[in-house]
């Protein structure tokens, strides 16, 4: 039950993108097409879950026993960067089309604050390994939900007759704001 609530909370109530404003750059950058958004979601899900889990292991297995908590940021970034590099290598081989359409946003997962934020949050909350893995996966799913919703809207928006002064980035940011507003409705669902 606790885990179900955790998942719901991470996806809907405390959505990383729409409520915590983490990971905004791919949210706006790769949300023009649904297929790209799905690819990005898969990449972030892989990186976030694995990186958070490995970070937890490193923190509790290495850093804390030796009193090296101050190395948290640098070692986490090292792990995340390695994970992203792995995804990049795999994507380049397995799906060159997706690799090209993700473009700069793929290596940018390295500095995606959602990924590092998730890893650090798990440590801060003193979560167990199971909770860490579930929460990271759910958080990445929340990120994906926001991205997919937004890309769906933007695909329709691209064909709509937008007033001239609102075209492009302006209407994208307005839509993102409205989407965030609508997610406020979930507040109070889970504490």
């Amino acid at each position: 039950m606790q885990l179900v609530l955790l998942v719901l909370s991470a996806i809907l109530v405390n959505n990383f993108v729409l409520s915590r404003f983490l990971g905004i750059c791919p949210f706006l950058g790769v949300s023009k097409k649904l297929s790209t958004a799905l690819g990005m979601t898969a990449a972030v899900m892989f990186v976030m879950t694995l990186a958070s889990t490995v970070c937890w292991l490193v923190f509790h297995g290495l850093l804390r026993p030796y009193g090296l908590e101050y190395l948290q940021t640098i070692s986490f970034i090292l792990i995340i960067a390695a994970m992203v590099q792995l995804v990049e290598l795999a994507l380049q081989k397995l799906s060159p089309g997706l690799y090209r359409s993700l473009g700069i946003y793929l290596p940018l997962i390295t500095t995606n604050c959602a990924v590092l934020g998730c890893a650090v949050m798990n440590i801060m909350n003193e979560s167990s390994l199971l909770v860490t893995a579930v929460f990271s996966l759910a958080a990445a799913m929340g990120f994906g939900l926001a991205l997919v919703l937004f890309s769906g809207i933007r695909e329709v928006l691209a064909l709509a007759d937008t007033p001239r002064s609102f075209r492009g980035t302006a209407i994208a940011l307005l839509t993102a704001g409205t989407l965030s507003l609508s997610f406020m409705g979930f507040a109070g669902l889970v504490k």
Partner: protein
């Protein structure tokens, strides 16, 4: 001191080792011809071919998506070399240069308001098409200059862009950068040009700019038959397929929008465009 160093470098080493193994497992084999073509290309990564850079273009040539003579920048010899790497031949083609179809600087062209915004033609063009009274005029904020990877665009003191033909490689980046669509690629040996893009009727064009083409047809009528310069929508066009080469034609133009740039022109005019 020792423990943190060992821990951190240990993490780094392990990830490095993992990545090295992954790189071997996921290695993407590239066609060796692609590297050879990339080496032969100019390497300016200007994007004039429509691909993200020289490497991307080389890949497209190897796959057969792009023609081996698709690089607008490199010379004929390089095109032949690129084609020979993939076992094809290319036809020679006439070299081109970019040409800016406006000479309405601040000294001759009227302004309709004072533009005080970002120094970029693209943003100035969003405000009622720019500050020039002429709806087609060069805004002079240098978007083409910044787009040019070869330093072939200069800004005149009166605020109009000019191509330096000797440096121009006809890559077409400036053509894409100009929000007013003022830049065209023309045959390099063409000597006579209409340096105006204004389609307004004569009086309106004249009011906006002293060097505008008025559509008076004096140039068109100077040809007894089969005119090489035609006027359509109050603007003269050169038929570059059969470009005329006659300095006397430029003298016919009452506003000076028809310009001669051939060998007989004064040196100062020849270098500007």
């Amino acid at each position: 001191m020792l423990v943190p160093t060992v821990v951190l470098s240990g993490i780094g080493l392990l990830s490095g080792l993992g990545l090295a193994l992954a790189a071997r497992a996921f290695a993407v084999e590239t066609d060796p011809r692609q590297d050879r073509i990339t080496e032969a290309l100019p390497g300016a990564n200007c994007g004039g071919c429509g691909y993200a850079g020289c490497g991307d273009f080389a890949g497209a040539v190897v796959r057969g998506d792009a023609k081996p003579d698709g690089c607008p920048v490199c010379d004929q010899e390089t095109r032949r070399l690129v084609a020979s790497i993939v076992g094809l031949t290319v036809q020679d083609r006439a070299p081109q240069v970019a040409l800016i179809l406006c000479q309405g600087g601040d000294d001759v062209a009227a302004k309709k308001y004072r533009y005080n915004g970002l120094a970029s033609c693209a943003s100035a063009a969003l405000l009622g098409g720019g500050d020039k009274a002429c709806g087609a005029g060069c805004l002079g904020l240098g978007d083409c200059q910044r787009a040019c990877a070869f330093g072939a665009v200069e800004m005149t003191p009166s605020g109009v862009a000019r191509i330096i033909p000797a440096r121009c490689t006809a890559c077409g980046q400036c053509v894409a950068a100009c929000p007013k669509d003022l830049i065209k690629l023309v045959p390099a040996e063409a000597t006579i040009h209409v340096l105006c893009s204004n389609h307004d009727r004569g009086p309106a064009a004249k009011k906006a700019c002293a060097v505008a083409c008025l559509g008076c047809k004096k140039c068109e009528k100077s040809f007894a038959e089969d005119p090489r310069i035609k006027v359509a929508d109050f603007l003269a066009y050169i038929d570059y397929e059969h470009a005329p080469d006659d300095p006397a034609l430029a003298a016919l133009c009452p506003t000076g929008s028809l310009v001669y740039r051939g060998a007989a022109a004064p040196a100062a005019e020849r270098t500007s465009s």
